[in-house]
Amino acid sequence: MASAQPADQTHYAVKLDAPDDFAAWRDAARVLVQAGIAPDRVSWTEPGGSDDLFAEGARALPQPPANAPTPRVNKRFLSLAKNAALHSDPRRFALLYRLLWRLQQNPRMMEDKADDDVRRLTELDKSVRRDSHKMHAFVRFREVEDAAGEAHYVAWFEPDHHIVRANAGFFMRRFANMKWSILTPRGSLHWDGETMREGPPAQRGDAPEGDPVEDLWRKYYASIFNPARLKVGAMLSEMPKKYWKNLPEASLIPELVAGAQTREAQMVDAGGQNFAERPDTLAAIDKAIHSCRNCPIGEMANEAVMGEGPQDAALMIVGEQPGDQEDRLGRPFVGPAGQLLDRHMELAGIARSTAYVTNAVKHFKFAQRGKRRIHQSPTAKEIDTCRWWMESERAIVKPKLVLALGASAARAMLGKTVSITKARGEPIPLDDGSELWITAHPSYLLRLDGDARLKQEKLFDADLAAVQERLQELIP
């Protein structure tokens, strides 16, 4: 370059009118590229930015040659740059210009993800997008009444970057029929339902203090949280503490976290049962049920009544629960209902001694009336709780056929309430390959008189006969 005149070394300083004025940057950058001004000869400043000594230089932009080609940019650069320009990093406009400059030499440079400038641009874009997303998420409106007596929703938000104007559209599209204002330290937005107005930066004190709906919101926030799954780190990474001061629900977090273990323990306790392994002998079950307090019946003054019969019985008979006499004697089916059962079994040709006889519920539930203890039916919950013991017995005896007497026994076997009338007389296959038959409870027969009793006893006999017939088929 020996013969050429000394190269122009003017330094240019571009001052933008607003920190988010991408259009102005673009206009200036276009001219500078066309005039061939290298990035190190341009400084960019925004209002309030520090015009330090590097910002010294010509204020007027150079005149590009008339035939200078229009700078080329690709779409991807433009969309990233537009967004990255909103970042609060004072060096962002210089970075954008450097990239624009380099893109003229290498139009495909944006594809090189390992390039440091490209990576920095991507980072800026990412943090601006994150900030915008957090604004969409964490703006919390509070309702106030305006001069006309109408509802006006006002929010206070503190963005990290110059994103307020860029996000006005989001809130307009979302809250079109509301009157609202978003106040931030970087400027404010006001929507009256028809037009958007920009306002100066605001202070926190300009925004209202509370809103009655926040109590509901806090209640919702506290209730939807499952204390059994505490993951504070996951929460913090998405909702960093810096946002907490403007979120009405965040004040609850410390006590929710601190109380989580207690709440979980309460949930587990309320779940009630904490069994170890299933006992593997009938004797062990017998011993364990005497100290079982998994349901309120266990707390009553009574003795647990264990099933009895051969451990290898093909037939298991399940009743409801011990009655007054069973409780006194500690044996199943020895009271009036038991005697009735014995008679009908004999009639059907089933020897009671060959069957394992037990109850769905192991303790006698009663209401004291003077000296008498009046039988009370167990609740579905109590049956479900006690089911574990009956299943433990079944796992040891392994009967081929189970005969459930009455609705409680049927529930214990099936886990759901069934109608005896519909379910009786037909086998129901069980998971382990055995089958369940359902019939009425003998104490039901005891409560009937006359024709009704005769009719029900007939049905009962028919069920027992069917069971006996089936047993003959099952036992080789």
């Binding site: 594809e111 989001f170 509901l216 209640k219 939807i224 799954r229 929460m235 909702m239 919950k381």
Partner: protein, 415 residues
């Protein structure tokens, strides 16, 4: 007992909804309340999480039950008939008002409404639909609505739900029919799948109509989803992944959610006593991810399971698969195809995209790859670059131990 206030009902009915895993509000059609039509609300494709609960889960929707009274008696469910929980009931109008109050303050993206079954399935479904109708028709609400549908309800009602809602979901509840029979005796697997099939047909038809007629009504534009409870029965991860894959294929589901069975107050005796580690749920989501975004087939995810059919808890399923199929590695990042690179443990969809873009401009060295990945240490044994070759590292017997996170760390998540 006096009448319950709104805040008391909200406490009960939000608490009862906390076992629902989904809170997603993304993937629906784009809507705005600006311009003609008016009203309130918008959806822009991407959902927004407006808050995060201390359990790490996001809150994007008002997730409540219309009522927690229920005529069903499903053992895993806190609201089953035989449970002793406090009961409450909202009217459709109350839920609509609450949704709007929250929405106007920008607390939520919309509503996720579910319900216990009261009176009958049809009656319940009518109430759910009525809530959505009030929001959509009386208030021109354009925000997100997710309705849980009742499989036993009249298909006409389920169809109506899809016309108001962005997403409908029908929970399959348990991965196996045997588990369903045992734990949800009032439910019927055939009925559940029948309802899903109906929704799938409606979605397809609505899409087809939309192509021909501009004003055809939209039907569940965010698709349908379902939830499975993990760890309440003996189903293994392989069973669960298999079921999920059949659901994705068979019913065009948008998402399958997994909910680790959690201790519920007043639990039924039929339930297991130990809850599964939360990390198991996490591994299932990871495997779901592999199928949806990484091109793994369900059978391949199943190959990653241990002998008991469960995914290892100490390492993620992608690493587990890679360790079982070491012969496929190392892969040359400068030559391997996208499909191959997606199999490298530690390389995500984004990193693979960036590698493919960058290698058009340069031959990648290990340093370059390090810039594009979260942890180069995890990736290194499985790749070659211009200046790196792992030699026999993939043959080392202790590779798993080298790559698995430290035990203390695991405990933190498993707690």
């Amino acid at each position: 007992m006096g009448a319950q206030t709104t805040i008391e009902k909200l406490e009960i009915l939000a608490d009862a909804a906390k076992y629902d895993a989904s809170c997603a509000s993304s993937g629906t059609s784009k809507r705005s309340s600006l311009g003609k039509g008016g009203g309130i609300g918008s959806t822009e494709g991407m959902g927004i999480c407006h808050a995060y609960a201390p359990d790490g889960r996001c809150i994007s929707l008002l997730k409540v039950l219309l009522t927690n009274h229920c005529i069903f008696d499903c053992h895993y469910c806190i609201n089953r008939k035989s449970s002793n929980v406090r009961r409450a009931r909202f009217t459709p109008q109350e839920v609509a008002d609450l949704t709007l109050s929250f929405y106007r303050r920008n607390y939520i993206e919309g509503l996720f409404l579910s319900s216990g079954i009261i009176k009958s399935s049809n009656h319940t479904m009518e109430q759910l639909v009525e809530t959505a109708r009030i929001l959509r028709e009386e208030h021109e609400f354009r925000g997100y609505i997710h309705l849980k549908t009742i499989p036993e309800a009249d298909p006409q009602l389920v169809h109506l739900a899809g016309l108001y809602a962005d997403r409908v979901s029908i929970n399959v509840e348990l991965p196996t029919d045997a588990g369903l029979t045992r734990l949800a005796p009032d439910k019927d697997a055939k009925q559940i799948e029948g309802a899903m099939k109906g929704v799938k047909a409606s979605i397809r038809q609505a899409k087809d109509e939309k192509k021909r007629f501009k004003h055809a009504p939209r039907f569940a534009p965010a698709g349908q989803s379902t939830q499975m409870i993990v760890g309440a029965d003996k189903a293994s991860d392989a069973d669960i992944v298999g079921k999920a894959s059949r659901l994705y294929d068979g019913f065009g589901l948008r998402r399958v959610y997994y909910s680790a069975f959690s201790p519920i107050p007043d639990a039924s005796a039929v339930l297991p006593l130990k809850r599964p580690p939360l990390i198991r749920e996490h591994r299932l989501y990871q495997s779901d991810w592999l199928m949806r975004f990484y091109g793994y087939r369900a059978s391949e995810v199943m190959q990653a399971t241990d002998d008991d059919g469960n995914l290892p808890l100490d390492i993620d399923p992608k690493l587990a698969w890679a360790l079982k199929f070491r012969g496929q590695f190392p892969l040359d990042v400068n030559r391997a195809s996208k499909e191959e690179l997606l199999r490298v443990p530690g390389l995500g969809v984004k990193a693979v995209g960036q590698i493919l873009a960058s290698r058009r401009h340069r031959t990648l060295r290990l340093d370059d790859v390090a810039k594009l990945t979260v942890s180069i240490a995890k990736v290194r044994p499985f790749i070659c670059t211009a200046d790196w070759r792992p030699l026999t590292l993939t043959d080392r017997a202790d590779l798993r131990a080298l790559l698995a996170p430290r035990q203390e760390q695991l405990e933190l998540f498993a707690a």
